[in-house]
Symmetry: C2
Subunit: 479 residues, 2 copies
């Protein structure tokens, strides 16, 4: 059968999740590897999702006053080395340019792994007075980190992202911006990607290289592992001080500036696949589906079917839908299965019987529910159906997340929970990375994902060493 | 006076055009150089123009069926070397990555100077059948060429652009696509950037490295020099054959594919500055102006002025304008001069007297014309004024271009024309690059910009050697 022909290429999700993921990425033609180890070709189906995420995030950014810029790809070695923690974090994993044209360079240049150093270098030259503050800038680009192991969207040497960088006159304003951008990310994950999460501050040793605080969004994949899905960093004045960015305030006194940065990458596409996908392939939330609806004529050789299908296509396009038609010679079964593989949220079946009854059949990708809609109402009703899908997808993913959050006060409980029930476990901790390391070893990988700072602690002892607990945290295995 | 304070930083355009250009780029804060020689920081004012150009072009692309993708930044040396002309053209000007992380690489990787090789490498692995054709792909990114001399927007080591790459089953289809994309560029220059041009095929020795035909758009800057403003290339099957891209046709026979590529870069921002700018700074056509109108309250401390100005701002925003207000403590004179420097197409002056008369004053940036508009009509009338400015700017630039196109049949005429009247000169040519070189020497830089193939030749002899003419061409000095 046609359907099986396509789907047989996909491993069952519960049988082998990692293989299922690889299969979906390949069969839905989202991306593939290039001739450069660890670097991806983002194909039209994958890149179109990224374009929708970009448009949505960029709009949210601009509503908060962000301005877009573009800074260079290359960083002189001396610039990378200006802030000690930062260079320690990144120098081991950058690519070095040593020759330009026919000549050997006097100073090596690295390909940006992130651009804090370039922004600070620019601001050190151009920011002089309180009138020049704040700077709230962002760029959409790619960065390169020489990773050893790579997986499509989740970890690759080059990846697409946005990196926002800001400086402010006061500590408070910068801290506020750090949290504000975390909230922008939260809203986008929830409203646009239909992905729930836990979020909060990272533990001390998990912070971004050079940051004072790192806030993270941790989404839960269908296999029970967490994915760090976006981060927002507060640098205080340490990082900009290292670059000697100073401004003259209203009293004519020289002051430090306070810095933030925040990033969201194509990892988010990995999250979409692993939160919403099923054994028939991708399931895209309508808000980031490059095609919201595919029209599939049934018995298209019968008189009037194709004409009516084209008229419908036209009507839906004019009504503002992202809609396509599959008028190929393939069988309906094949067409259904391909539309499901690609994760297109709805298909409209239209055949001779529907013509007689002046109706169409809308089939939801997420539930397979078939909905009969009058031809006269489809241009309005389809929007309702898509919005219902969007909301239902979030609710289902959120039910899954909530049912995979547990608590533990002893190490036995913790070990047991991570054996049976994967997901997040709330547990208390003294803050010592060594304790975390031991827990990680015993549970086969569970570590702190983020601290929980707005709830009462469930214990006053570290789950490993028994010493006084400093933090409660979400623990989880992760990508 | 406030106005002079800003404007005094700009050299007069007719006195020293090159310095005027540099001054405008700096004072309008479009971009500046970074710590990496020849690489630019695109600042918010400059990048916002690029975003509008991108949005416009991308829409035009998608209307012709283009799909966006993203391919890697790095190219293995062996891949760059696969096509002989291409490697000869680019190898001398690429940057080489020799180390990744802590290790020396076994094969050098270059940072893409352009991505034909990566697209062909991908297609060689994935295109098998006529069903896989055509591929009509594009990517927005930056590329790097190790230029020796650089100027903001016009020539820099790293620059932003789009590069479209397509393959087709037939020669004719590929050739058609080459011309189609040239037309898309022409429409965008004319309708969106308000920039007229001449266009056509490049002479043989001026073609893109590896191409069979290169088509170019040549715009005329205010100083009489041409700027190559966008190009579209036809490769035939030579380039894809070098990468062994073959497909099986309907008769089950193995066939070559035919390739095109086409690019438009941030040079276009240089063209905007040099075609439309004046001694008071930038003059942006409304369609690519990040801010279409700036509201400037007059005597803003007087009762009601600021309230009314904010209400107007709000009304215009809701009506879909890109509009901002300058409610700072600076004097109106300073505010006018800053708005003019930035090239904002209109300002609205609103003061106590205007409130009394229920009116505002709209001032055009291009002509300085003051237009009194009733407050009740401004949300509608402003659009008309902006569209008039857009059209007038094109017409003025086109009058300038048309009055700077001349003809020559003898070398004396040619030399005289390039002494007195700069711009384009139509003249005939045998096709020998040596003759072109001599003309270039004698005229101080005039060379063929593109061939003229749809007009009768004005002479049957080469303007230099007197041998039979093969081509008529536009000659001009250029950036
Ligand atoms: Zn402990
Ligand atoms: Zn000649």
């Amino acid at each position: 059968m046609a359907k099986e022909k396509l789907v047989k290429n996909i491993t069952s999700r519960d049988e082998n999740f990692a293989q299922w993921y690889t299969d979906v990425v390949r069969e839905a033609q989202l991306c593939d590897y290039s001739s450069v180890k660890g670097c991806l070709n983002y194909l039209p189906n994958g890149y179109a999702i990224w374009e929708l995420i970009q448009a949505d995030l960029d709009k949210r950014f601009k509503e908060t006053g962000v301005e877009n810029v573009s800074l260079p790809l290359l960083i002189p070695e001396a610039l990378l080395e200006k802030e000690a923690d930062h260079v320690d974090g990144f120098a081991p994993e950058v690519a070095w340019v040593t020759h330009g044209g026919m000549e050997r360079l006097q100073e090596r240049l690295c390909i940006r792994p992130t651009s804090e150093t370039l922004f600070c270098d620019l601001w050190a030259r151009t920011v002089k007075s309180y009138r020049d503050l704040p700077k709230v800038w962002n760029q959409w680009n790619s960065v390169l980190r020489w990773e050893k192991t790579t997986r499509p969207f989740l970890r690759s040497r080059e990846f697409l992202w946005q990196e926002g960088h800001t400086i402010h006159a006061t500590y408070e304003e910068a801290e506020e911006r750090t949290i504000q951008m975390l909230h922008v990310y939260e809203d986008c994950y929830k409203e646009t990607l239909a992905i729930p999460f836990v979020s909060g501050r990272k533990a001390e040793h998990e912070k971004f290289a050079g940051a004072q605080d790192t806030y993270t969004i941790e989404a839960l994949m269908h296999d029970g592992k967490a994915l760090q899905s976006a981060t927002s960093h507060f640098f205080g004045s340490g990082f900009p001080d290292a670059f000697d960015i100073k401004y003259v305030d209203k009293n004519n006194e020289l002051q430090s500036v306070y810095e933030t940065s925040w990033g969201w990458s194509t990892r988010s596409i990995g999250a979409l696949i692993m939160v919403h996908g099923d054994d028939d392939g991708l399931v895209l939330p309508p808000h980031v589906a490059p095609v919201e609806c595919r029209v599939i004529p049934i018995a298209q050789h019968k008189e009037g079917v194709l004409d009516k299908a084209y008229a419908l296509l036209d009507e839906l396009k004019k009504a503002g839908y992202r809609v396509k038609i599959d008028d190929s010679e393939k069988s309906p079964g094949w067409k259904f299965s391909e539309q499901e593989m690609l994760g297109i949220p709805t298909r409209i079946e239209i055949g001779p019987k529907d013509l007689e009854k002046n109706q169409v059949i809308v089939v939801r990708r997420d539930t397979r529910e078939k909905i009969v809609v009058s031809m006269d109402e489809i241009a309005v009703k389809l929007r309702d159906i898509l919005e219902t899908i969007q909301q239902d997808m979030y609710n289902r993913a959120n039910d899954f997340l909530q049912s995979h959050v547990d608590t533990a006060v002893t190490m036995d409980e913790m070990a047991e929970k991570f054996k049976k029930n994967r997901g997040f476990v709330k547990a208390c901790w003294c803050g010592d990375p060594e304790c975390e390391g031991e827990v990680k070893y015993v549970t086969g990988g569970a570590a702190t994902r983020c601290l929980i700072e707005d709830e009462d602690m469930i214990s006053d002892k570290c789950i490993w060493c028994g010493k006084p607990a400093k933090h409660m945290a979400y623990w989880g295995k992760s990508y």
